[in-house]
Structure formats: structure tokens, C-alpha cells
Symmetry: C2
Subunit: 769 residues, 2 copies
């Protein structure tokens, strides 16, 4: 833990007291988003202290020219980056002629932020003494509407406390912004057009190269003591890429001056390029029609609907409760699953780091969360995203020398093209293909919906199977297929041979794809003929895949009775993490790369990731052996590591360990374990936190169309509960030390297996086991 200023509350993230050192961290933690746009918790008014400005529009990116020390064939020319979008939130505030700037006030009292997760708004209040002696109270609420996802709302209120005051509000929209993360210090936005009237302003700009057109807009209304002021004189300032409108209100001591600012973006992804201002005007029209209070009501309702399906309660452990809700909230702020063109960036709308929006995190960690807490179209959209990018994955594989429709999905992408440029990752961390195939299997297993496979999934599976079949090498020395030169999920090993996880997932992909080819061929004849025509699949191909899968080599140690992470693992000096000098950690900050590589230390689950995906292929004893062999060498220096270990520790009845891993994953950002939350939150690992509870403590599995549970409870907790949308019915699970209660909101009884014992849950009739 690196910080503990966040006040534990069940439904809110709260900060009290103003500390300049915490500003960037809080800008990340109090970020808001609605799936279509996002906003770091930057102050609306001028702030001259250290800050990291971030406004984001989902799907809008910039291909930043790759920066590299030593170029290798096959590197992509560009790294597609999430980019800082024009500023719509800005409001300069003047108090009796002095600009409000929290970095320059004489005193700041009662500073408080609250991110209300239940209702989806961000609220900031403080009292400040300005250098001119005026004391004011400020109260600002901001939210991004889920219902109208191009709309952001700000209510900015100022009350002078010790004298009458002239309050000026100067809201603006500004496309002249820069990016924190840029390889060559280039500007990413080109201004095209501005328009304004007394209440409204529009800046149309477009990204260089990608030519996403965006209208950034605002609409302002002034209030005195909560009453709208019909007409306030305005003075305007319009530049090429920035428009500000300035209003002044005189208020007596104790009276409230208010500015309501509607703002946001309309983008060419969703509207004709030449209709963006018109579209923005329509959003403004709707917002004005609904009005602030009603918009806030709608927002609460939208979030209530999300929580109704996705909430997890934890009794007796407020920090754990706050942690899990923060994770669920951020995931929903980032991605709502309405749009198959979007995906789940590793920092969501809370920062720029890593660029790209899509990693294997989506399939390996995020899919289960969205599949279980939302309607199944959302998970289908996540799968379709990859289907829609299959052509690019085939191109990507071609660049690396593969042929005949072999597909290699990118390590990092925005539009399907590979962005990443480290050979050991870009070219070698190919296990990512496995997670993409596994997600198709996982979707079918959980939802029971096979239709996705003949419709879209099979083509993806064929491309992936072709890749593995070509990528495996037949070793005459071993008389087996080997997979040479890879990086596994444990990125603290590079260019290794026969990474067990990669070989295992490859074998599985080959066999699963072969089975689906047979299945679709038999039962979905017209789909198959369409797919066969498109892919040119030959009748011998599936058999070849099976043959490669069956003859796959797996490194194994007879001495230890475990599969080896890769060839040669046992040559390492096997000193456990617990015997390492703590001063040496985190390794990635203390050791040179070669030292990390030749050490046995594991960044995140690797063999154990395979045991997580394919749990049913192994006995509990086998899991225990492998967990005991590998966990002691695991440094968990990836945010994606603790969750898998938490789930497996729970399965092995090691609840202390499971709980410790859970705490680390659930409060990773709130407590800033990795000293980097100011750069943004770890969005994708938040889905892992959710898995730790539902699959770890709750022990939820689906086996042959039946839900299995083996509920356990950490001794720190009194009870916890979660809900799952299982095939259209909502099942609630409430776990206490004394027993587990199941309740079904649906029409058809659901058979479940609890701790191996079969029972049935009937609609409206709670069952306790």
C-alpha cells in the first residue's frame, strides 16, 4: 500500500482535505465515464499546480509514429493511441476580479470530493480564501449521462461568504490541447471550424492522420440562488481552436451564483461528418428539455439498473466493499457493451498509458464479468469485435510470414492493426490468440448460445488454428511438435521454447477448432458452405490440426511432478521470493532485464493461468502441486496476477491466502500499490477482482450447462452476495458462514450444484444450503 487517504464508504469514493501532492492521483480515482466518453477529475477552473489533463472519446485514436531504438522487420509503423480530446469542462472563475486557482488561494477549507458510485456523479466542495480576501464556498457536481451518452453536465455554484462579490464565469471549449503520451511531441488535433452564440459554442476539429471529426460543444445557463437568470451580458473570445464566453453575476454575501454547463462531443464515428454541430445542437436540445434535475434523476436510474445486475455486497469489511464496488463501477464507466466497435482499454478513461484499447485482457479477464453481469449481447459484442478484425489479424500474420488465412491477433490494437513494437512481445507473445479462441468457448459454455459459432466464431477459430498449425515446428529430435521462441503470459521470460501455457492453449485451440468444424459441418450446413467458400478450408485441415495438437510436446519434471513453465526452467537458481532481499523488489525497477530473465521469478500466472482456464482438465491434487511449485516464485508485478491466485487459493481452501490476494487486487488503485495511480487506473484487472469473488470465494463454475458453486467466506467477512445473469434469469447468491442462500428472479427453475450436491432454485423461492 502506498496511500490511504481515500475514506472508506460503501457506495462512495471520498477524499477530504486539499493536498497538492494528491491532485494527480485523485484525478485518476475520481474519473467519470459513460462508455462513450470519459473525463479525469480535473478541476473545471484554472489550476496552476501539477495536473494531468485527460478527456477521452471512445474509439477516437491517433496513430503515433513508432519510436524504437533498433528497428526490426515486421514492426508496425504506428502505435494507435488513446488521445486527449478537446476540453469541454473548462470554466474560468473570477471573484471580484481575481481568478480562482486552488494553487494560489490564501486558504482552503473543507475540501471534499465524492465519487458517488451508486448514482454516477462526482461532487466537489470547498471553501477558499482568495488573495483579495474574498471568502467563497464552491460546490461543483459533474456527471456524464449514461442515457444521453454524448452529454456531460456540470453545475458550478459559488457563494461569497464574507462580502458581496462579482462572480465571473468563463466557460470554454478548447481543441488546442496536447497529449501527455506522445512519441514525437506532435499535436494530434487540427482545428477546422468554430461557431458560437450567446449561450453556446462549438469547436469542430479533427485528428491528424485518422481524421476523426469531433464537435466539442457547450451550452451555458446562469443561476442566482438556484433561479435561472434570463439574460446575462456575454463577452466572447473566439480563436481558431478555442472559444470562451464570459458572464458576470453580482451576488450579495451568502447568495449563490451558479453556472450550468452542458457539454461534450459529437463524433464522426456516429454522425455524418458535416452534421456534427447539428447533432450537438440536438443533444443540447434534449438536455435543455429534460433539465438538470431530471437528467440527474435519469442518471441515478441508469446506474441503479447496472447495479441491480452487477452489485456485490460485502458485510463486515468496508474497505473490501468499497474496493469491489469501485472495480465494478469503473468497468461500467469504461465499457457498456452497446457498440461492437469499442473495447476495454487498460486504463479506460482514466489515463493514456499503454495506448491501444484492446489487449488479451479483454478475453481472459473482462469477458466473464460482462457475460455474467449483463445481457448476453454485451459479451457477443466483445466477441464480434474480434470477428470484425479477423482480416487485420490475417494481414498481421502475413507480415510475419504466415499464409493461407492464418490469423494472429494483435497484442495491442485500436482498429485491428498491431501497434506494439517490442519483438519479444509483438512477435512472440502469441498465446494471446489462445485467449481469443477460449473466449468463444467460454461464451458458449456460459450462455448456452451456440449460434455465435456458425455465425461468426468458426471463422475466427479457423484462422487461429491455422496459425498454430503453421507456428508449431516438428522436432525430429523429440518426435513431437514444439513451439519455439515465444513469450508466455509471464513476460519475465522472453523467447523461450515450449512455454507450457502456450503449447497447451495451442493444442486446445487446434482440437477445439477441429471439433467445431465438424459440428458446424454437420448441423449448420448452409453456414458451413458460406464459411468454406470464404476460408477455402480443405477437408483434411481439421484432421491435420488434431494431429498437431495430439503430438504437442509439454515439458514435464518427473522429479517435481509438475509441468515446466518452459524448456530449461529447472536450470535456474530456484530461490523463493520469500528468501529474496525485499530491497531487491519490485524486480522490474531494481534489476536489469537479463537478470530478471534468467531468474525463476514469475510476473503473473503462467502455468497457473492454464490451470485456471482448463481447471477441469486437472485434479485438485495436480492444481495444488503446481500452485505450490510456482506461486513461491511469483512476484505478482502484473495487476493481472493476484486474481488468478486468489481464485486458486480459494479452490485449495487456503482462505487466508485467497483473502490477501483479493485485497491486493481490489484496492490496487485506491491504495496505489504500484505507485502509479496518477497515470490512471488499472481497468482490466478490475474484472479479475470480480472473478476473485464470484469464481474464487463463490466457486462459480459452469459444467455441462449446470451452475456449480462451492461458496467459501474469508473469516474477515460476515457475509457477501453477488448476482449472475444465467441464461436470462437473475440468480442471487448470499453467502454467510452459516450457509448460502440462493434466490432466483425468473420463470424457470435452475438446477445448481452446491459443493457437489445437486439442487434446484425455483423462481421467487429462496433456498438456503
Amino acid at each position: 500500500m502506498n496511500q490511504d487517504y481515500i475514506i472508506p464508504e460503501a457506495w462512495s469514493i471520498v477524499e477530504e482535505g486539499f493536498d497538492k501532492e494528491r491532485v494527480k492521483s485523485s484525478e485518476s480515482l475520481f474519473s467519470i465515464g459513460n462508455g462513450a466518453m470519459g473525463q479525469r477529475a480535473n478541476f473545471e477552473e484554472t489550476y496552476s499546480g501539477p495536473t494531468f489533463q485527460g478527456s477521452y472519446i471512445a474509439g477516437v485514436y491517433y496513430p503515433d509514429k513508432t519510436r524504437v531504438g533498433w528497428w526490426k522487420n515486421g514492426y508496425p509503423e504506428y502505435f494507435a493511441k488513446v488521445l486527449n480530446a478537446p476540453n469541454w469542462i473548462g470554466v474560468d472563475v473570477g471573484i471580484n476580479g481575481e481568478k480562482l486557482d486552488l494553487n494560489k488561494c490564501s486558504a482552503i477549507r473543507n475540501f471534499r470530493r465524492e465519487l458517488n458510485m451508486k448514482e454516477g456523479w462526482y461532487h466537489r466542495t470547498f471553501e477558499a480564501v482568495l488573495q483579495n480576501g474574498t471568502e467563497i464556498r464552491v460546490d461543483v457536481r459533474r456527471f456524464l449521462s449514461l442515457e444521453y451518452d454524448e452529454l456531460g453536465v456540470i453545475m458550478y455554484e459559488v457563494t461569497p461568504l464574507n462580502r458581496d462579490a462579482k462572480i465571473s464565469f468563463t466557460p470554454y471549449v478548447d481543441a488546442g490541447i496536447t497529449n501527455e503520451d506522445t512519441n514525437w511531441d506532435e499535436k494530434f488535433w487540427e482545428p477546422l471550424e468554430t461557431r458560437h452564440s450567446e449561450k453556446e459554442a462549438f469547436v469542430v476539429s479533427r485528428t491528424f492522420k485518422t481524421h476523426f471529426h469531433v464537435a466539442t460543444y457547450m451550452h451555458n445557463t446562469l443561476f442566482r440562488n438556484g433561479e435561472e437568470i434570463a439574460s446575462v451580458p456575454v463577452s466572447e473570445k473566439a480563436g481558431d481552436d478555442r472559444i470562451s464566453l464570459s458572464y458576470e453575476i453580482s451576488v450579495a454575501k451568502g447568495e449563490k451564483a451558479g453556472l450550468q454547463k452542458f457539454g461534450g462531443y459529437t463524433a464522426s464515428m456516429n454522425h455524418p461528418q458535416d452534421k456534427l454541430v447539428h447533432a450537438a445542437q440536438e443533444v443540447i436540445g434534449k438536455a435543455v428539455e429534460e433539465g438538470y434535475d431530471r437528467l440527474l434523476e435519469i442518471q441515478k436510474k441508469s446506474w441503479a439498473e447496472i447495479w441491480d445486475m452487477a452489485d456485490i455486497t460485502i458485510e463486515g469489511d468496508i474497505k473490501a466493499q468499497q474496493g469491489i464496488r469501485f472495480n465494478i463501477f469503473q468497468l461500467n464507466q469504461t465499457y457498456l457493451g452497446k457498440d461492437a466497435r469499442l473495447n476495454i482499454g487498460p486504463k479506460g478513461f482514466t489515463g493514456e498509458k499503454y495506448g491501444g484499447s484492446t489487449y488479451w485482457d479483454t478475453e481472459a479477464y473482462c469477458l466473464p464479468f460482462y457475460m455474467v453481469t449483463k445481457n448476453q449481447e454485451v459479451a457477443r459484442n466483445l466477441l464480434s469485435y474480434r470477428y470484425n478484425q479477423l482480416d487485420k489479424a490475417i494481414e498481421n500474420a502475413e507480415k510475419l510470414g504466415f499464409s493461407h488465412g492464418a490469423a494472429l491477433y494483435p497484442m495491442v490494437t485500436m482498429n485491428g492493426e498491431e501497434c506494439h513494437n517490442e519483438w519479444e512481445i509483438t512477435f512472440e507473445e502469441i498465446h494471446r490468440n489462445g485467449a481469443i479462441a477460449y473466449a468463444i468457448y467460454n461464451y458458449h459454455r456460459y450462455t448456452g448460445d451456440y449460434s455465435y459459432i456458425p455465425e461468426k466464431g468458426l471463422e475466427v477459430l479457423i484462422g487461429i488454428a491455422r496459425f498454430w498449425a503453421q507456428r508449431a515446428t516438428f522436432s525430429t529430435a523429440k518426435n513431437k511438435y514444439v513451439i519455439l521462441g515465444v513469450t508466455g503470459p509471464n513476460e519475465y521470460e522472453n523467447n523461450v521454447n515450449n512455454n507450457w501455457y502456450t503449447n497447451y492453449v495451442a493444442k486446445w485451440c487446434l482440437e477445439y477448432a477441429a471439433e467445431q468444424v465438424e459440428e458446424v459441418k454437420k448441423h449448420y450446413v448452409s453456414d458451413f458452405s458460406r464459411i468454406a467458400a470464404k476460408t477455402g478450408i480443405e477437408h483434411t485441415e481439421a484432421a491435420q490440426w488434431k494431429a498437431v495438437g495430439e503430438a504437442m510436446y509439454f515439458p514435464y519434471s518427473e522429479t517435481h511432478g509438475v509441468y515446466l513453465q518452459q524448456d530449461g526452467f529447472l536450470d535456474k537458481e530456484l530461490i523463493r521470493v520469500s528468501d529474496l532481499d525485499p530491497a531487491q523488489r519490485p524486480l522490474n525497477q531494481k534489476w536489469s532485464w537479463d537478470r530478471i530473465l534468467r531468474s525463476p521469478y514469475i510476473k503473473q500466472a503462467d502455468v497457473l493461468q492454464g490451470f485456471y482456464f482448463f481447471e477441469d482438465h486437472f485434479t485438485g491434487e495436480e492444481l495444488e502441486k503446481h500452485f505450490d511449485f510456482y506461486e513461491p516464485f511469483t512476484v505478482h508485478e502484473s495487476s493481472l496476477s493476484p486474481c488468478v491466485h486468489s481464485i486458486q487459493a480459494a479452490r485449495l481452501d487456503r482462505m487466508e491466502q485467497a483473502y490477501a490476494f483479493y485485497l491486493r487486487t481490489s484496492r490496487l488503485d485506491l491504495d496505489d500499490y504500484n505507485r502509479e495511480v496518477k497515470e490512471g487506473c488499472h481497468i482490466t484487472s478490475m474484472a479479475g477482482t470480480w472473478m476473485s469473488i464470484v469464481e474464487g470465494f463463490g466457486g462459480m463454475r459452469v459444467r455441462e450447462d449446470v451452475l456449480h458453486f462451492s461458496p467459501k467466506i474469508p473469516e474477515q467477512w460476515k457475509a457477501y452476495s453477488f448476482k449472475i445473469n444465467f441464461r436470462g434469469q437473475l440468480l442471487s447468491i448470499h453467502v454467510k458462514a452459516s450457509g448460502t442462500e440462493f434466490e432466483l428472479d425468473g420463470n424457470t427453475p435452475v438446477p445448481v450444484v452446491i459443493n457437489g450436491r445437486k439442487t434446484e432454485v425455483h423462481p421467487g423461492t429462496p433456498v438456503t444450503v
Copy 2:
């Protein structure tokens, strides 16, 4: 072969005819240097076509901020670069008011360049028709004095052919130059001061960051028909970093107008910083005193002395003759061994690529050439260079986690600090340490001079042995020491385990260092106590090194009866290079990096490099087996590869193959095999060419203080001869099909072994065997 415009002559490099496409290539091939400075064959006069300007001062470098995509701990902050130095050669030429520019003339006739290697000058002549109709003949000779190594000389003569003409010469010195190779497009030079008079000009500038101060100077004399003109009116132009002096001479048709320009550099490496202009004036004084003709005579004499010891003649194969002389000439232009602060950059003074001046090439390839063709101080200076940088090598190892005086020499360096920034090279290509120790052994073996070891060498050996002892890992699984995560000489493999070459050279270093510790302890008591005090060597250390060396693991294939290049080599798909589609080559331009890595293809000798260094540890049969196993997978995409193979093919009596490898290495740049000569020549591999003849065809070896030869002759040749300085006496070897003649220029008979038969060569009495 990619070009063949160089006209074969025994002593000269000649180009005839002007072709803009060849300008950059010829700029590299016709480069001149004198060990202290160098100059690409840029035109003196303005040239508006594509050109690569390059002037270089030995030892002057710039630490360019590292550019990298993904930073790793341990990467150096800077890459020390050879940098383009201020221009001293420039002479703008006006003909009846029109600027001479070969890119803009109406016609160019009889264009000819000659680089006279025997005498060390570069000569360019041509006739041009200007746009104004004036026809002129131009004749320019340029050389860098070996005797006065801060002095360059230009004689620039213009004869109008069809009318009288006003010829203006505007010589200049210019520090406002840029670099082709810069990571961030920065300027590397800061101008400090200028001074000039009617005949002379000085620009003092310094490199940013490193603060090398340099005075760039010129001194001009005008001639009409070879007669000095006492006084010519001058008009001057002096900026911050550039001074030009303009002179005009009227000549009648057929008369010759001449400019003699002395110029060059004085640098703060060799003079007090505030005396640079003074030092330059002294050089000018000497040059004026000697005069042009005498300076040229001295130059011929200096080169005659070099050739007297270093020349190799080849009869019956003019291209091979030209090739070997070009290689010997370039090596001598680059490094003369007078200054232990300097070393042999991979491009010498012919380009900027690769930066740094020192690679393992120096010890592995260049040392033998300098050791055999020069007095032994030169080789000693090359060794001392590493001794002087031992502290930096220890620091470098510390950055990577080593301790207790372990030393890791840099992959690329200027001043001892590591420059390179690719983890797989910088951190893992550690075999370089082995070549540095081997050079000490090699020096002692050849020169018989043991004194270097107690004096300096032992400290280096101790640092290197400590590194290997710490870098090896004890594998309990193998009950042997293993070396994990390395890149061998074959850089087409990265991060492999138990690279045979690395393990072998490590074992050898450990054992050799242990023996030298014992030797010095016994016979050089006072040296040992000094070294022991300085290094803190413990009395058990040498025994530990031996123990690690003795228990070193070597991958071996019983099936093939060969050592394996690394663990897992036999898992690869072993398709021979000859069975590869030629369209796939060169691999480094056609294949992505992962594909290269998992292929069996070898960039340059790796196991065979070990067999080259330690030939006497293996039987001829073993060599043959390994050569036949590895050569078929070798693509020779390193300039350092063919020479080792040529030597071994000769040893195996495969003269056709040996000759083919020889041709490829000796004319690599002249015929531009790698399509990159315009970036500069491959200087260090030129020493490999020399080895191909002396050690390959000549079969020269030193065993137990005795010279061995096994002369062979390619059937394309009538005869060839070379000389070697063996322990202060000059032995000439003349090989013909009918027999080999030995001749000794010295005082003491030299025992030699020819094809296994012992004989003696007596001074002044040729022996034919």
C-alpha cells in the same frame, strides 16, 4: 555483388566516368584517413546532388540521448557517436561568375578518381562545360599527412579550355554542420570563436556535453601556372561558425589557376584548450616550411614504410590483389596504433553508422593484423585501451547486479561506458568479455612478451573471471554450471541457454585467469602484491574459478557427434540454406525477427568461432564434423563471417570454398555485396580478410613459440606473398604452386614448421620448401 564500376588496379582504386548514383558509394570507397582524422571523398566544391558529408576526428564523440521504444533498467542514457566534424575541405569555385557544381554542369567529361594506396593520396580530375559555356579542366589532389597528423592538404587546379576566365576560389572552414546519424535531430557542435587574416582562418567550436574543443583551420595559397601569386585581393565573410575567404584570379585560356589549401584540426585531446589556434598556427608553419611537394614526398615515404611490413601481393588475380590492398590500406588509415586512447571503429572514418569506436571486433579480428604487421607496441596499445577502461567495465557490471570487481566490457563504447541499448545485445551478448581475455593470451602467444600480464593484463583477467564465475548458474538438475540467457556471436539467436561458444570461452577465461594468477604470484611477486591490494583477490578465488570452469556444461548431440550451438538447437526445422528460396534472402531484410530466431540460420560463425580461437583443442576430424554441420545453415549476413569460414575451409583442404569466402570478404565494399557501402566501409572485417590469407591460405599458427605454416594456394592464383613481424624480425613468405620461399630480414635464425616439418630460416638466406 551489387556494383562493379571500380576499375581493378594493383595499387589504386579507380573510378572513371561521372554517375550521380555512385557519388555516395564513391564517397565511402575513396575516403582518406591518417589515424587521427578522416575524410569521406566529398567534393571540395559545391555539390547540390545527393551526398553524405563526413569529416571525422579520432576520439571526438558526442553522447547522443538514447532513443528507445521501451526502456529497460540498465540501459545507458547515451549512445556515444562518432560525429561529423567541422568542414575544412570546402572550396567554392566560380568560373566567370558561375558556381561550379557537378550536379548542374552542361557536360562532364573524363571524370576520374584515383585513390592511390601505395602513396596515400586521392586524386580527382574532370572536364566540365558550365552553363555559361566555359569549358574547364579540374585537377584536385588531397591527402591527410601521416607525418603531421593534424594536417590535410588540397591542391585544387582549374584550367579554362575554350576562353579566358575569371576563376574565383572561396575556401572556407565551417562548424555549422549537421550529422546524418542523430537520434533527436540535435546539433552536436557549439561555435565558440573565429579568427582570420588574409590567408588563414580558424573556427573554434566544441561538442555539446562532451566539450571536446576543436580548432578547424585553413591556410590558402594561390597559384598561376604553378607559380605562387604573392598577393591576391581577398574578400571575407565571417559568421559565428563559418569563415570564407574569397580570391579571384584571371587566367587566359589554357592557363592554370591553382589553390593550395592546408587545413585540418587541432583538438583539446592533444593540446591545452586555450592553445588550439596557436597549435594550428604551428602546424601551418611546418606545412608552409615543408611545402606541397615535400609534404607529398613525405607522405609517400610514410606509406612505403607501412607497406614494407604489411603488404600482401597476389599474382594472377588483379581483383583479389586490389581487394587485399584496399583492406590493408583502410585499416591503416583508420588506426595506426600510436595512441592508446583510440580504437578501431566499425566504419573507421568512412561513415557514422553504429556509433562507438570499439566492439569485440577489435580483439577478435583486428588485433592479429596489427600484431603481425606492426611493431608490438601497437598491439600493446590496443590491449592497454581495455586496461584503461577496466573501471568502467566494473561499473557496467555493477549496473547489471554483479559485484566484487566483476567486469563486463561494453558491447559498443567510446570511453568505456556502454552505449548500446538492445537488451538482447547489451545485457546478453556477454561473450565479448571472452575475446578481450583471449586477446591477452593471443598477444603473449605471438609476441612472447609476458610482461604485459603482470603489468596490466592480469587485472583485466581477474575482472573477467569474476564476471563469469558470478554469471554462471549451478543447475542442480544438470549438476553442472550453466550460463542462461545469452546471445552468442550468432546474433540470429537471442536469450538462449548454454550457447556453446559462450560457455566454452567462459570456461577458458576462468581457467586461464586462474593459471595467470598462479604464474604472477610465483614469478612476479611485487606485481602480484600490487594487484592483490588493488583487486582484493582472495586466495581461494582462483580455485573457485577452476571449479566452475571444470564443471561447465556443454550441449552435445550424440546423434550428430557435434556440440550444439545452444540448448534445444535440434528442435529446429533443419532446412539447409541451399534449400531456401533465394527470394527469402537476405533474411534480415525479408523475415520478421521471431522467424529468424526460431530458424536454424546462423548469421556468423558461432560454434565455429570457438573452433577458430581454440583450434588446437580439437582434432581436424572434429573441425570437419562441426564445419559440415553448421556451415550449411550459415547465411553469412555479418561481414565478420566469411573470413573465419575461409580459414577453416583452407585448413580442411577445401580450397574452392576457401577462395569463394575469401573473395566475398575481400571485395565486400568494393563490390558492395551488402548494398550499403554508401553508408561507409566495413573496416573491422577487413582484418578478417587479412587473416583469410595469412592464417587461411598461409596456415600461419604460433605453437609453443614456434611459427607453423601450411601454405596452400587457390588455383586462380599464380603466387602470393606476405610478411610478418615475428618478435622483431621480418619474415617474408612467398607461396607458389611449386613451393614456398621464406626470407628473413633480421639477425637471428627463426625456426619454423612447414606442413609439420621443422626447418630454420636464416637472415638473408632465402629457403624454399
